[in-house]
């Protein structure tokens, strides 16, 4: 069972607010990921990190930003939330060895921007 945590689980917020979605894992995984998922749709990678101070954008363009100052922590920030940001955001982590890489997912944050 993977130990990866996301807070908050649900967030309803007004347009223009700055928000930070938290993600932490206690497994010592080097790689961490953020996915965006709309209802009935596939997950899309929006950010990933190979390790501390390493972040890259994923396939799906996103106005969010991420940071990786500590191995266990990978927060996602939206400077000014808009209704188009309404979605579910899933955090995941994995070990560094690509040949046996399995991603473990957190419970997700369901964001609604009014």
């Amino acid at each position: 069972e993977a130990d990866i945590y996301q807070t908050p689980r649900y967030l309803v917020i007004g347009t223009g607010k700055k928000i930070t979605l938290e993600c932490s894992q206690t497994m010592g995984h080097d790689k961490m990921y953020w996915y965006q998922q709309d209802p009935g749709m596939e997950l899309h990678l929006i950010h990933y990190s190979y390790g501390v101070n390493s972040t890259e954008k994923g396939d799906l363009s996103s106005e969010s930003t991420v940071s990786r100052i500590r191995t266990e922590h990978f927060p996602l920030t939206l400077e000014s939330a808009r209704p188009s940001h309404t979605s579910q955001y899933l955090c995941a982590s994995s070990l560094a060895a690509a040949s046996t890489d399995t991603q473990y997912f957190g419970p997700g944050t369901r964001l609604t921007v009014l």
């Binding site: 790689k31 009935g40 749709m41 596939e42 997950l43 899309h44 990678l45 990933y48 190979y50 994923g58 396939d59 899933l90 995941a92 690509a98 040949s99 046996t100 890489d101 399995t102 991603q103 473990y104 997912f105 957190g106 419970p107 997700g108």
Partner: protein, 113 residues
């Protein structure tokens, strides 16, 4: 571009029925393949994975999947479903040595008691 197709978006079965969910991937090279499950209100969990070797992979809770390279398929099967299998199932692929997981759009399974 690499893609994953799950052709059944919604499946409704009665308990004890057999299950097969289709998954096709597009990449022609070496791939790693995964099935994840998301039970209502819970996070995505790994059901099973294929990296190499025996193309018939057994996972948790009685699920299995068969990798058929010639058909670019990795279908999920269970001989007898239970009400507790009601969930959303996602197939995913990854090119060998890549970090990127490509997900299908998911299949919602409803098992009626």
């Amino acid at each position: 571009a690499q893609s994953v197709s799950q052709h059944n978006h919604h499946v409704i079965l009665s308990e004890a029925a057999s299950l097969e969910l289709g998954c096709n991937y597009s990449y022609g090279g070496t791939v790693n393949l995964f099935w994840y499950v998301q039970y209502p209100g819970q996070h995505l969990q790994l059901l099973l994975k294929y990296f190499s070797g025996d193309p018939l992979v057994k996972g948790i809770k009685g699920f299995e999947a068969e990798f058929i390279k010639s058909k670019f398929s990795f279908n999920l099967r269970k001989p007898s479903v239970q009400w507790s299998d009601t969930a959303e199932y996602f197939c995913a692929s990854r090119m060998d040595s890549s970090y990127k997981l490509i997900f299908g759009s998911g299949t919602r399974l409803l098992v009626r008691p």
